[in-house]
């Protein structure tokens, strides 16, 4: 998969694309990542669905969306028409649902890649996330990989809420994942001290924004160290070009921007510009030369690493 630039929207943070198109041309994104599409329409969770925390945002949206049929009819064609490269995020509660969904997407034109949201609760495992368990995650990835055209990459999106992210990453790659995306939101909670009740109607929610960036950097670092040949899309609190570069130095070859877009609708194009300026300032000809560079032994010069993988994302 070749993308014209390394800045993507994060799943569930760019609407249908039309909302952002009021501010900038969505074809200028490295790719547009959709919210997680489900087989049937979903109404999501009750409100309040959001709570602001220090440099963070808790959300419990619950994958509200119109279902795959409406997505294929109304959303995907529009993105294709606009020249956006579309990465379709998929969500489901069972392996069978992921399979059915992937079959439905298999011959739709205009899909650049499929991202598997493994943070969905597995209804056959008492609601435990697929991403918590390497074998469950691998099974989902394999089912999607089997249904999707061989030339469309499958990306496994991982949760940081696991004991060993490298083990899950490795299982996903063994299951057929062409790339990894990390991190999805870790679970968090806030309590309204005046009402003395959880702030979110759902109780707990997913934490995003700069508050989780160190977690994202650590996860990307570990996955890149263990699986240096696997492309990683890094995300979690990217707000500036400098933040994007941090994830790239940890091993990401592309970054996705979520919560920052809520604050600044122009976040994606701005972060791309800032990143390009930083790379130029530091004398990098190609982004690939910066990918994982922080892993070089201490004391080596910044350009000391020569065995870098060409970024193929």
């Amino acid at each position: 998969m070749e993308l014209p630039n390394p800045v993507l929207t994060a799943a569930g943070c760019g609407g249908t694309g039309r909302e952002l198109a009021q501010f900038f041309d969505v074809a200028r994104l490295g790719a547009f990542v959709t919210r997680s599409i489900t087989m049937a329409p979903r109404a999501g969770r009750p409100t309040p669905r959001m709570a602001e925390t220090p440099s963070g945002l808790l959300n419990a949206v619950g994958l509200q969306g119109p279902g795959v049929e409406a997505f294929l009819e109304r959303e995907l064609p529009w993105l294709a028409e606009r020249g956006a490269r579309t990465i379709v995020s998929v969500g489901g509660g069972t392996v069978a649902e992921f399979t059915a969904l992937s079959r439905r997407l298999a011959d739709a034109p205009g899909i650049t890649a499929v991202e598997v949201n493994l943070s969905c609760p597995n209804v056959e495992d008492r609601g435990r996330m697929f991403a918590r368990d390497g074998s469950a995650a691998a099974e989902v990835v394999a089912s999607v990989r089997a249904a999707i055209r061989y030339d469309v990459p499958v990306i496994a999106k991982l949760s940081p809420d696991v004991a060993d992210i490298v083990a899950v990453a490795r299982s996903c790659v063994d299951g057929g994942a062409d790339a990894l995306a990390m991190i999805n939101t870790p679970a968090g909670m806030s309590i309204d001290v005046d009402a003395m009740r959880p702030t979110l109607a759902a109780g707990a929610g997913g934490l995003s924004g700069p508050a989780v960036r160190p977690l994202a950097v650590r996860c990307v670092w570990q996955a890149h160290a263990a699986l240096p040949g696997v492309p990683i899309i890094g995300m979690g609190g990217v707000t500036t070009g400098r933040d994007a570069l941090e994830l790239i130095l940890a091993g990401a070859c592309a970054v996705a921007v979520g919560t920052a877009t809520f604050h600044d609708p122009y976040a994606c194009p701005r972060i791309l510009r800032e990143l390009e300026e930083l790379l130029t300032e530091r004398g990098f000809d190609r982004l690939a030369d910066a990918v994982g560079l922080a892993h070089r032994p201490a004391g080596t010069g910044p350009r000391g690493r020569t065995d870098l993988e060409e970024s193929s994302l």
């Binding site: 009750p46 409100t47 959001m50 509200q64 877009t261 122009y266």
Partner: protein, 285 residues
């Protein structure tokens, strides 16, 4: 979506206190140009490198042509974001996105309109009143709040409206009680054709019930927790019945904030009604 929103850094022209509220006038030509009554803006709170990641939604109270176009915002201090805004001084700059949302639809022909405002909700009614009067409509105001200093815009309402009725829960101004206590009388006396309302959810529910009883249309501007204001985060949803009779969780920031009152399922706000499209275990899945 009428007229795309813009993001801009606007200079604060004036700040003032209006009873319990703060008012800010900000130079924002691109927003003032596109403004229609009912629109809102979102403000970034906390300045550069703020730890507050979500924008604050505020109704545009007024626009003026000065300095190429200004918008006036009126707000109550609630939490950290509005507390920061209350400290903003003239000549500071504010990061605004707007105009946002679906504005109030206006009647094609002159008619009689009752405008109901609760707390700072009345802030959005004066531009609406101007637009209605320009179209030859008669307007009557009903404004209410818990206490006198929380009733916003009583003087201006008295100047503009054919009649103005005020209510406070503690009786410190106007009639003691709620706007819904006096609304039936105002509608009957004015022989109103339509009701517009902006204020807390509970008030909107009551106002809608009154309008439904009179069999007249009611347009309400709702308030739900918002993170982005531009339709991308899906946090601001309310259950609304569509033309086809199906309830959907609609985003207040783009499909609203103005909805036909009788279509909003006020009793189910804060829940996912079992018969909503895509409700867990619902028939529509």
């Amino acid at each position: 979506m009428a007229g795309s929103p813009v993001q801009m850094t606007g200079t604060v022209l004036t700040t003032r206190r209006v009873d319990a509220y703060h008012a800010l006038t900000v130079v924002a030509p691109g927003i003032a140009d596109r403004f229609r009554p009912g629109h809102f803006v979102t403000v970034a709170a906390g300045g550069r490198d703020t730890s507050m990641l979500t924008r604050r939604a505020l109704t545009v109270h007024d626009v003026k042509p000065d300095y190429g176009g200004t918008v006036e915002l009126v707000f109550a201090v609630r939490g950290a974001g509005t507390a920061w805004l209350a400290e903003v001084k003239a000549r500071d700059t504010l990061d605004l996105v707007g105009p946002l949302g679906r504005p109030f639809p206006l009647p094609r022909d002159p008619c009689t309109c009752v405008l109901v405002g609760g707390e700072y909700g009345s802030a959005s009614l004066f531009a609406l009143g101007d637009a209605l009067q320009t179209r030859g409509c008669r307007i009557d105001f009903v404004l209410g709040a818990t206490t006198a200093e929380r009733v916003f815009g009583a003087l201006r309402a008295r100047r503009m409206g054919e009649t103005t009725t005020l209510t406070t829960e503690d009786g410190s101004l106007g009639m003691r009680g709620k706007v819904t206590d006096v609304l039936p009388g105002v509608i009957a006396d004015a022989r109103a054709d339509v009701v517009y309302a902006c204020g807390p959810m509970a008030m909107l529910r009551g106002v809608t019930a009154v309008a439904v009883e009179f069999g007249i249309p009611v347009q309400v501007a709702v308030e739900e927790h918002m993170a982005c204001g531009i339709g991308v985060c899906m946090t601001c949803v309310v259950p609304v019945i569509g033309e086809d009779g199906v309830t959907r969780m609609l985003r207040a920031c783009v499909e609203g904030p103005v909805f036909r009152g009788e279509r909003v399922r006020f009793d189910d706000v804060g829940t996912i009604p079992f018969d909503a499209l895509g409700a867990p275990g619902g028939r529509n899945v």
